[in-house]
């Protein structure tokens, strides 16, 4: 017993150090942008960054799970849109209460994830292809269901407060953190608990580490894989509700391309695309790195074409730093 306590201690210390270092890239960005522009480090702008992180962040949380299983989900962006549209239809066309609309939206996301999971687990279609198919199917369905027009939540003013109201502002006047941000943090905490404390989390890692070994150990690999994709879909559903609430409308045409940002967030945060490794904290940091970068470059009025170049380069650098950090650790 006594023997095993000592290494445990160093482990914790290492972990703590690692966590601080993981913030490294983010802190560097903050420092650089703060020095470069007085408009960067201001309450409103920070809230802006937080808000800009929310949707991509929630998508990234979801996709972290499938990436840890060694899979991928390219459909998260358009499934988000589909969920937003479904919520819009339920609330504005069917005139049902907002909570019900939100619930149906979440379920729509989960259902898309379930279909992904079934196709991947049962038909043995590679996740890349299965979810590429779903990307298109969800995109098309979102257009079909919406009738090709944005759906506005004008009949339900409450809907907008889901993302844009501020619970903190109600408690501490002036401290107006939009609910979208709080929802993102709440989702991150739940995701983290699921990943580290529950059976689902354990099997998420097991699948990514050695699926065959898990199968031979009697784990119902298919069922858990389906569960993981469904969970990812559920997060996409949540992202859909948040984006619809933020825009006060369900925009049927956006969504494609969002998957790459979300995957980048997870990977910048240290989630390994070959599976078996990853953390929610990392993903959250990764998502903030991306939105901080975008925001800062805009604040500095860097020409847009150069923003693209710089973003591309910094994504690579951030992942490189993470790799170096872990190699040392």
């Amino acid at each position: 017993m006594a023997v095993s306590v000592a290494p445990r201690g160093t482990l914790v210390r290492n972990d703590a150090l690692q966590r601080v270092l993981a913030f490294g890239a983010l802190i560097v960005l903050f420092v650089v942008f703060s020095l470069a522009s007085p408009n960067f480090l201001q309450f409103n702008n920070i809230v802006g960054i937080l808000l800009a992180t929310a949707v991509n962040g929630v998508l990234a949380l979801g996709v972290t799970f499938v990436i840890i299983t060694g899979g991928i989900d390219l459909s998260i962006g358009t499934v988000m849109t589909l969920a937003a549209v479904v919520t819009g239809v339920v609330i504005t066309r069917w005139n049902l209460p907002v909570p019900l609309g939100v619930l149906v939206g979440l379920l729509a996301g989960a259902a898309a994830g379930l279909v992904n999971g079934l196709i991947i687990a049962k038909l043995k279609i590679p996740p890349f292809i299965a979810t590429l198919g779903m990307l298109n199917v969800a995109k098309g369905l979102a257009l079909v269901i919406s009738g090709l027009t944005p759906i506005y939540f004008n009949n339900a003013p409450a809907f907008n407060t889901i993302a844009m109201g501020s619970v903190t502002g109600a408690i501490i006047p002036g401290f107006n953190i939009p609910n979208a941000v709080l929802l993102f943090f709440l989702a991150a905490i739940i995701a983290s608990l699921i990943l580290t404390k529950t059976v689902l989390g354990r099997y998420t890692f097991a699948l990514g580490s050695n699926e065959e070994a898990a199968r031979l150990s009697g784990v119902n690999v298919n069922a858990w894989k389906i569960a993981v994709y469904t969970l990812t879909g559920l997060f996409s559903g949540l992202a859909g509700v948040i984006i619809a609430s933020r825009l006060n409308s369900a925009q049927p045409a956006l969504g494609q391309g969002y998957e790459l940002d979300a995957i980048a967030a997870a990977v910048i945060g240290g989630t390994s695309l070959s599976g078996g490794e990853g953390s929610i904290l990392g993903t959250v940091i990764g998502a903030f790195i991306i939105s901080t970068l975008t925001n800062g470059l805009r604040i500095l009025s860097v020409p847009q074409e150069w923003q693209t170049v710089v973003t591309g380069a910094i994504v690579v650098v951030a992942v490189y730093l993470d790799i170096v950090r872990r190699r040392r650790g």
């Binding site: 023997v3 095993s4 290494p7 445990r8 482990l11 404390k197 529950t198 059976v199 689902l200 989390g201 354990r202 890692f205 097991a206 990514g208 580490s209 050695n210 065959e212 070994a213 898990a214 199968r215 031979l216 150990s217 009697g218 784990v219 119902n220 078996g276 490794e277």
Partner: protein, 502 residues
């Protein structure tokens, strides 16, 4: 007999192009250790995989305690009380030892879906205490040596408290002390009435531990006999269908040959400490040691697979700056890894490509064009020369049995035709017939003037093959013995000279 737990009859199983089992038969009684023997590819693993729900059988029936059963999934086998240690490691490297052992049946706390991590670790610790195993349940499996990983596999199988326990070559990566621990555990289980299937190519173990022996050949059942009623020679002839004559090894005098490889003051982290030795032309240098002695590390360092901290490698009298395996091959060094699945074969590729992999430059024409006629004939040549059992050189290596995979990798290095060959556990998981072929091969190679470093955890093999023996312990060379002076006792003595004792 009414204490028969498992009866398999008329089991057939075929894979594309291979009839792995035809009329497989197996009878297992409670409270016995039943050895299942046969050459590489005889169908032993396949038979056990059918029993444990991994492969569906094509036909035949399985009786469990007299009842006909269907075992469609690994879970079904577990539920019946059958557990298995696979020939290949089946662990999740990113998870901890304890998490691996309890995967699929984790203790839960409070809410049904929340894990009780403390409980998992505690139960694992108890299991390890029982096995006399020094291992932290919270260590990541990926950080362990192959041997430790194998012990985790064994612990996992034991943790099921099954009535039937199948061990498919459990000792292949283990060294003597661990094997003794394992045997002690096996005997305890036998006392408790557990039925144990024991598959191994180390026939001397069979005599020690098994009560009965079933021999298979070419997917067929040959015979079942009591261990006490037969000699090892008889078992061998049942396995191969012919008699193998072992000629007493001749040890050539190589002391005055020129030195082809000299290693000076090699250091790498904590695992290699000031290792120096020489290798002569035409010599087989056996390297003995316990698990974790650092032999594999030294081999990998010489081969350029891992970077070194300091030290020199001198090939044929010239300093060789080896920074990568590619450099090593250029300097005429080949390395056959102990972990063939991870480092040895490109399992998804065919036999031909694997055999040519180290030496494509020999098959090139213009513009990187590969002379595929030449690769084919070379591959065909080695398939025949090494008696590799495969339907064609186009077969994927994944579909070969473990032993045949090993032969393919040997074929690769013979194709590369390097002067210095480092064989790390070359006969791990290889049947007697193939083993003696490989021994013959090693001898032939050395008589052709090739120099061989043979790392082995099997002392009889070391004693039989080496011209000289190097012993390592905790990353240091603790001794060097001419073969004439080497005995099991002296080697063990050197292999246990831990720094703490000095």
């Amino acid at each position: 007999m009414d204490n028969v737990v498992v009866l398999m009859e008329g089991i057939t199983k075929s894979f594309p192009g291979v009839q792995a089992l035809s009329e497989g038969y197996f009878e297992l009684r409670s409270g016995e250790v039943h050895a299942l023997l046969g050459e590489n590819g005889a169908g032993k693993s396949t038979l056990m995989k059918v029993l444990t729900g991994i492969y569906p059988k094509d036909s035949g029936r399985i009786l469990y305690k007299g009842q006909a059963v269907e075992i469609p999934t690994p879970k079904a086998a577990q539920d019946l009380g059958i557990s298995i240690i696979h020939q290949e490691l089946n662990l999740m490297p990113h998870l901890t030892v304890a998490q691996n052992i309890f995967i699929g049946r984790e203790p839960r706390s409070g809410l049904r879906f929340v894990l009780d991590e403390q409980q998992i670790n505690e139960q694992t610790r108890q299991l390890f205490d029982m096995m006399h195993l020094q291992l932290d349940p919270r260590d990541k499996v990926g950080d362990l040596t192959v041997a430790k990983q194998q012990m985790v596999e064994i612990a996992k199988a034991l943790s099921f408290n099954s009535e039937v326990l199948i061990m498919d070559e459990p000792t292949a990566p283990l060294t003597e002390t661990e094997i003794e621990d394992l045997f002690r555990i096996i005997r305890q289980l036998r006392e408790k009435g557990v039925a144990i299937v024991y598959i191994s190519h180390r026939l001397e173990e069979i005599k020690q531990i098994a009560d009965r022996v079933t021999v298979m050949r070419d997917g067929r059942y040959i015979n079942t006999v009591g261990t006490r009623d037969v000699t090892i020679q008889q078992i061998i002839s049942m396995m191969v269908g012919r008699t193998i004559y072992e000629t007493a090894p001749e040890v050539p005098e190589t002391a005055d040959h020129e030195t082809v490889l000299e290693v000076k003051h090699l250091n790498r982290g904590r695992s290699i400490k000031d290792v120096s030795f020489e290798l002569k032309r035409g010599e087989i240098l056996g390297v003995a040691g316990l698990m974790g002695a650092g032999r594999t590390e030294v081999a990998r360092a010489i081969f350029g697979a891992d970077p070194i901290d300091s030290g020199e490698i001198i090939v044929a009298g010239k300093k060789a700056p080896i920074k990568s395996p590619q450099d090593a091959v250029k300097h005429g060094i080949g390395y056959l890894s102990e972990d063939r699945k991870r480092f040895g074969a490109a399992l998804g590729l065919d036999v031909e490509t694997n055999i040519a992999l180290s030496a494509f430059q020999k098959f090139l024409r213009f513009l990187g064009w590969v002379d595929s006629g030449k690769t084919r004939t070379t591959a065909d040549h080695f398939v025949k020369a090494l008696a590799i059992k495969t339907p064609s050189v186009r077969q994927k290596v994944r579909n070969l049995s473990g032993g045949n995979q090993q032969k393919v990798i040997i074929g690769k290095w013979l194709t590369a035709n390097t002067d210095i060959l480092i064989f790390d556990e070359p006969t791990r998981g290889i049947d007697v017939g193939a083993k003696s072929e490989i021994y013959k091969l090693l001898n032939e190679l050395s008589s052709q003037g090739k120099s061989i470093i043979m790392i082995s955890s099997e002392l009889p093999e070391i004693l039989r093959m080496s011209h000289r023996v190097l012993v390592m312990c905790e990353g240091r060379v603790t001794g060097e013995l001419p073969i004439a002076e080497a005995t099991q006792e002296r080697i063990m003595h050197l292999a246990t000279q831990r720094e703490s004792y000095l």
